[in-house]
């Protein structure tokens, strides 16, 4: 495996605001990486740094082994579609696709036309007159049909209905299998997208707090439910992500339990429930918020 993206100590300050703070991670070739986190966590800034649209205050990022800023060799292999993508006022849907066909060397016009059918995009309508979902659909079509070696999708389906989202997931997976490439996807709908992801990077307050394989991550966290005292005894000294208690019953979310520890928990009369990626990330990011405020 080779790393397509390598970030080392990447930092971006806006005045005194630390949008991205000392971020280091790598993204492997031909994988789908989820870039997750709360609003304002720094996801978009990280993507803008990767595509050379934003200038790093400190640290560096290498894409295809080179710095991306003003680097045509890197950027012609890259496609970045974001929720808040700006379109020229005079552009109708068809003009966006026409421009995209020129911008992306691997553009597949037939595939784009099929996607237009399926997403029911009114190509003759001006972009600014389209609904949020229709605009998102245009962005999704550009992102998929560009077939760029590195594709970044920032909240690509804001406003898309459930049917269109399913359509997007199916197409992304199918097209990714047929034309492997590196995809970075940021999204709020973590559970929906979870099955797509090979790797997960979670940012919170501009820092990376989780950087792990999606499969291992799904396996690591569990929720234990049982009598308050038993839960407390068991959780002592472990990596606790979340804690809830009602009356004598408590539930705790933990990571890094070994098989032996799981057996112990069952023996102690605790119920073990799996934790979804979304729950895991919610508890992680909520915790850091509490730590700061308490």
């Amino acid at each position: 495996m080779t790393a397509v993206i390598e970030a080392k100590g990447l930092t971006r300050h806006y005045g005194k605001v630390e949008a991205v703070e000392d971020v280091s991670f790598s993204v492997q070739e031909n994988s789908i990486c989820g870039l997750l986190g709360r609003n304002g966590a720094g996801k978009t800034t990280v993507m803008r740094l990767i595509t050379g649209q934003e200038f790093a205050s400190l640290g560096e990022v290498h894409v295809f082994g080179e710095r991306p800023v003003e680097n045509a060799a890197v950027l012609t292999r890259t496609c970045f579609v974001r929720e808040s993508q700006v379109y020229p006022d005079s552009f109708r849907g068809k003009h966006v696709l026409r421009a995209a066909a020129h911008l992306f060397p691997n553009w597949d016009a037939d595939y784009a036309a099929r996607l237009v059918e399926e997403f029911r995009v009114p190509l003759g309508r001006r972009m600014k007159k389209m609904s949020r979902g229709q605009r998102s659909a245009v962005g999704v079509i550009v992102g998929l049909a560009a077939r760029a070696e590195l594709t970044l999708l920032d909240e690509p389906y804001a406003g898309l209905d459930a049917v269109a989202r399913e359509l997007f997931y199916d197409h992304l997976l199918a097209d990714y299998s047929a034309n492997p490439r590196t995809i970075i996807l940021s999204t709020h709908l973590i559970d929906e997208a979870a099955r797509l992801l090979d790797h997960v990077i979670v940012v919170d307050r501009g820092r990376v707090i989780i950087d792990a394989d999606a499969d291992s991550l799904r396996g690591t966290a569990v929720t234990l439910v049982g009598a308050h005292a038993a839960v407390e005894r068991f959780a002592a000294g472990k990596d606790v992500l979340g804690w809830e208690g009602i009356g004598g019953i408590a539930s705790v979310t933990l990571t890094g339990l070994s098989d032996a520890e799981r057996a112990d928990a069952t023996a102690a009369g605790l119920e073990i429930a799996p934790v979804s990626l979304q729950q895991l990330i919610v508890s992680r990011t909520r915790n850091t918020a509490q730590e700061v405020h308490s």
Partner: protein, 248 residues
């Protein structure tokens, strides 16, 4: 993984041009229609004047001085500012370098300047062939331009349009970089610079010699002499855009 060679600089510049022209109305058809529309309005006004005059003869140079073409020229400053503001975030946002974007935008502006410069010169030729559209009207080559050959008009108009569009490009880059505040400061600075320059000339008592110098030059020479200003505007625009970040 599909691999491909990096497109050459020429192809990347052409790509930006094609993005600008994805909707040809914005830069080609609408400005052409506006130009013809302004001409049409002037043509109508001339007829109103002729009708009002009735049998009374007009002065021979009644329709010689017309600012319509100048108006069209300055309209291209607006076109340039808007084109840059509208396409920068789109093109660079999807994954182009600022350099490729700026070169392609500049090439687009040069192409537009040539198209409209030559087009207006040809219409000036037609204007002469038809004796000023049959009524001694001068729109495409008014006043001093009336006596210049069409090929000179083509060069003068192209250079003037290119100059104005690159001033617009610098303004557009300012807007992309610093928003509307930047644009106000930009045009404010140009005005301040002009006033400062006129003060220096007044202070030195050079108006007379400047006037003599300019009067001694042909329109073509003057047009060519604006080239350095165009180069400065173009370079300034790029310097501003290099550190700009796309919106969204």
């Amino acid at each position: 993984m599909t691999t491909y060679a990096v497109p050459t600089m020429g192809r990347r510049v052409a790509t930006t041009m094609r993005v600008h022209l994805s909707n040809p109305w914005t830069l080609l058809f609408t400005p052409a229609l506006v130009t013809l529309g302004v001409f049409g309005l002037n043509f109508a006004i001339w007829h109103v004047v002729l009708f009002a005059a009735g049998d009374k003869p007009l002065e021979p140079d009644a329709f010689d001085y017309n600012g319509g073409a100048t108006w069209v020229m300055f309209y291209f400053v607006v076109i340039a500012v808007q084109a840059m503001n509208q396409t920068f975030s789109f093109t660079v946002g999807l994954g182009s370098t600022r350099r490729d974007y700026y070169l392609g935008t500049s090439a687009t502006f040069v192409m537009l300047a040539v198209t409209f410069g030559v087009g207006m010169a040809l219409l000036a030729g037609l204007e002469r062939l038809t004796d000023g559209w049959g009524i001694e009207g001068r729109f495409f080559a008014p006043a001093v331009f009336a006596s210049l050959p069409v090929w000179q008009l083509a060069i003068i108009y192209t250079l003037a349009l290119a100059l104005l569009m690159f001033v617009g490009a610098a303004g557009g880059a300012t807007f992309v970089r610093w928003g509307s505040t930047g644009l106000i400061v930009f045009f404010g600075s140009i005005a301040a610079l002009a006033i400062a320059l006129s003060f220096v000339i007044t202070w030195g008592g050079w108006w007379q010699s400047l006037g003599d110098f300019l009067a001694g030059r042909t329109a073509l020479e003057l047009a060519v002499m604006t080239l350095p200003i165009m180069v400065v505007a173009a370079a300034g625009g790029f310097a501003l855009l290099r550190r700009a970040t796309p919106r969204g």
